[in-house]
Amino acid sequence: MRAAPDLLVARDLVKHFPVNQGVLVGGERGIVHAVDGVSFDVRRGETLGLVGETGCGKSTTARMIARLLEPTSGQVLFDGADITHWSRRRLRPLRREVQMIFQDPYSSLNPRRPVGTIIAEPLRVHRIGTKAERRRRVEEVMERVGLNPEHFNRYPHEFSGGQRQRVGIARAIVTDPKLIIADEPVSALDVSIRAQVLNLLQDLREDLGLTLVFISHDLSVVRHLCDRVAVMYLGKIVEIADPDRLYAHPRHPYSGALLSAVPVPSVQAKARRTVLRGDVPSPIDPPSACRFHTRCPKAQELCSAVEPPLEPKGSAEQLAACHFPLTRTEVDDLMPPATAA
């Protein structure tokens, strides 16, 4: 047994949203199965990546573990305590321990407040320090994320996209949180700026010992930054492993398809073939048993009848929810030669 429990544990999280189908009153009620039984743990000091395509439930999962959304069922344990049903008041001290970074640095910063005030906000909310101490702390954090502390009184519109994202990061680390949840933090940034912000996140993680949940649709970025990666499809985790194992030999056919679809800037890229056809089915009426069976090239009868559990495949550190995991030969067929190293 480890001395301390995992920093965060998600157990069988479910989030269903009721919807009215149709614009008119009296439209049929339906339920969006946004997240449907997701379990994972986040170990202290690690970076866990959540990847998947639009609508797979990664952002909803993030919002539930941050307790910004109430789960329909399941549990969230933070630092050993079950926080699933804590009231807002009771959660308040916890909020300084869990911070978020958002995708869009334009809409997540109040345009009418100077960035110094924005970054100081969590300190003020939690009544940390005197005004002078807060100012010092903000300047220190600005320096740390590569912003000029003299720009304390400037407004968000005076900064570029990359700098704004640094403001968002400064705000997230100002209370010295234990866990940061970053939802697509570099997706809105240009290539050259994205690399700067990724390096910053990497440095902060090492220097401050941060635990990070990193949500992204970009598999190359996730591989670069994360210690473990969970692949989601239609509200479920289909595979979870460290990137070396996952990217070298994905076991779940969906992970394989996703990896093979990533464009690689290499001259061999043209040889690749498309594996997945069609679109993701609707989360209002998801397929039975294994949700990927309707698009899976390996699906058999069993897959539509019995839901495969998330269990070790090939190694104790690699879990996949699949009855017929990909073999070595199938993986080699799927990937361009350079990636399957």
Partner: protein, 339 residues
């Protein structure tokens, strides 16, 4: 043979309240028949404005356009709006990043494709409808007969982009300009759309200009690549050359700042320092010099010309060729299996 489309020293600037924005500042490039030209660059590099200018969509009261856009022997900039109508849509078609905002939400998909046909050809509505159905089938949409009567919101993002491509290709244009056609789509859908564009191009011999910020997308589709920075083409050449032997420091920076699946993990990214320049107060000399680690004093004052470095490979950089080749040998990303 003369290229199908040749852009010569194109300048596009816009008068704004903050000053004159030089969005395109001397772009020269060309596209051969049936070829795919990938145009890569970051926000504000002028790639979209160049494309819009080819389509005649920057003819605005506050815009100044200079240079030449020679298409099949005619300078499009000299054409009247009316004459341009016959080229736009029929001989040069364009698709955009967000198919939802480029399809009219209140008209059926099929009707919108029929309109495109009727605008250029004297055929009956029924004949146009038949062709719309064929076009939807050609982009591999399921049940095209039912789909002609659906509204854009009833389609998924990937299907909408297919419908846009159907609309663009229904008149069998010589050139298809695709501006970030897959940026709003998920990777698996992106792979499908890129495969579709490649397939249609092979089938109909359409030349394609593919604008993107993603070098991976370029690698999968382009024969020829133009790299743009701050309103200019800084390097252009065959795909292999740009990926394997690039000679402009900005291209090096782009290639090094992306995490890629085929290089060792956890290698630190080497970003380009600083931020892209303002197009109102663009830097003197080479626009890239403030961010270039190899800048020399002359880069600050003298604007480098786009010169041929190898056959078919042009670069705008003052560094001596040998020096550039030496630097790239040191920089080039090692592939995973070589590490």
């Amino acid at each position: 043979m003369a290229p199908l489309l040749e852009i010569r020293d194109l300048h596009v600037s816009f008068r704004t309240r903050d000053g004159v924005v030089r969005a395109v500042d001397g772009v020269s490039t060309s596209l051969g028949r049936g070829e795919t030209l990938g145009v890569v660059g970051e926000s504000g590099s002028g790639k979209s404005v160049t494309a819009l200018t080819v389509m005649g969509l920057t003819r605005l009261p506050n815009a100044f356009v200079g240079g030449q856009i020679v298409f099949d022997g005619t300078d499009l900039l000299e054409l009247s709006n009316e004459a341009l109508q016959h080229v736009r849509g029929r001989r040069i078609a364009m698709i955009f990043q967000d198919p939802l905002s480029s399809l009219h939400p209140l008209y059926k998909v099929g009707w919108q494709i029929e309109e495109a046909i009727l605008a250029h050809e004297d055929v009956s509505r029924r004949a146009a409808r038949r062709r719309a159905i064929d076009a939807l089938a050609a982009v591999e949409l399921p049940n095209p007969r039912d789909l002609v009567d659906s509204y854009p919101h009833q389609l998924s993002g990937g299907m909408r982009q297919r419908a846009m491509i159907a609309m663009a290709l229904v008149l069998n244009p010589d050139v298809l300009i695709a501006d970030e056609p897959t940026t709003a789509l998920d990777v698996t859908v992106q792979a499908q759309i890129l495969e579709l564009i490649r397939g249609l191009q092979k089938e109909f011999g359409t030349a394609v200009v593919l604008i993107t910020h993603d070098l991976g997308v370029i690698a999968e589709t382009a024969d020829e690549v133009a790299v743009m920075y701050a309103g200019r083409v800084v390097e252009q050449g065959p795909l292999e050359t740009i990926l394997e032997a690039p000679e402009h420091p900005y291209t090096w920076g782009l290639l090094q700042s992306i995490p890629r699946l085929d290089t060792p993990r956890r290698e630190r990214l080497r970003p380009i320092q600083g931020t892209p320049p303002s197009l109102i107060h663009a830097p003197s000399g080479c626009h890239f010099h403030p961010r270039c680690p190899y800048a020399m004093p002359m880069c600050r004052t003298i604007d480098p010309e786009l010169l041929e470095s190898d056959e078919g490979h042009v670069v705008a950089c003052h560094l001596p060729v040998d020096e550039k080749r030496r630097i790239w040998r040191e920089l080039r990303p090692r592939e995973a299996d070589a590490a």
